[in-house]
Subunit: 100 residues, 4 copies
């Protein structure tokens, strides 16, 4: 189980608004019910099996091209912990418990 | 107003758990009441005036060294939009409205 | 053809030096002769077919675990341009020509 | 002394070519002779005193707005090591020596 953040940004679109592209990328995740996802103001966080997540991201990265983007910049950050099961919920709780 | 994601990671700590370091970095934000912050499973998202956010991040980046880290890797992603006011809430809503 | 930067960082390794891990990750690239690579002080830049690069990165990301790391943080940045062929060399030359 | 990679990307620029913007960002570095810089196909790597580098990056990040960009996405990765002096050259040599 890995936790992966991804943000996909088309360049050279006429408008600086890219939310329609982001929404379309997100739709790809409907085909991956085993991947948990959380939308944040800066990207999407995915939790699941790493190779499946990378497969989903590769498909998400194609979406802006289908919507006529000519260049896409995609940032992926993998947090892969194997000494114990890492989850999005567990990571947040672990930090919060230490902030009291 | 900018929206900025930051994640601060100490390297060469004995344990792969870094939540105590993250919690301590977060405490710095108490001195910056004008900056809105949101903790995510992969980092912290900050909303506010860019130069003030960068000042806060520089201070957060120092925290692991005070806790004896010898090396710190910090990732910062700035989203700065000036044709209209961008907010964390507005960005999420804009994507969600296009996913229906 | 895409250009992709990757940096792979093991966490909780006791020593803050991670160059041995990086060197081992790099060895994976010997099995991918079609991918051009360039080592930088902050990561490795790869040029080639995107799905093959992602396959190589997935394999590189496994290396620190084989060397007993318990947690690995991997950052991937894809620059994928399809209106014309983008190359590492071409990108540098394009910037340099505009700096004169 | 820190080593910092930065990439500055304007969004909504009509053309997917952004090298002119990158070249203009780079010109800012002329005012910072103490910062060593290296242009890579994916960004610029800076070596120097951290707070000065962050000051330079803040100024670089303003450049695309002066050139009429409406939104700028800037990615900054700091590698700050304090148990010994880290340099761009030293990091590369350390990895290369372990690849033989």
């Amino acid at each position: 189980m890995a936790i992966v953040e991804v943000s996909i940004t088309p360049l050279g679109t006429e408008s600086p608004s890219v939310s329609q592209y982001v929404a379309d990328c997100h739709k790809v995740l409907k085909s991956y019910p085993q991947i948990h996802s959380q939308l944040t103001p800066m990207g999407t966080i995915l939790e699941g099996e790493l190779s499946q997540i990378l497969k989903a991201i590769e498909e998400m990265h194609e979406m802006p091209f289908r919507n006529n983007a000519k260049r896409v910049s995609t940032l992926i950050k993998i947090d892969d912990r194997r000494d114990r099961k890492g989850t999005m919920k567990g990571k947040i709780e672990s930090v919060l418990s230490k902030m009291e």
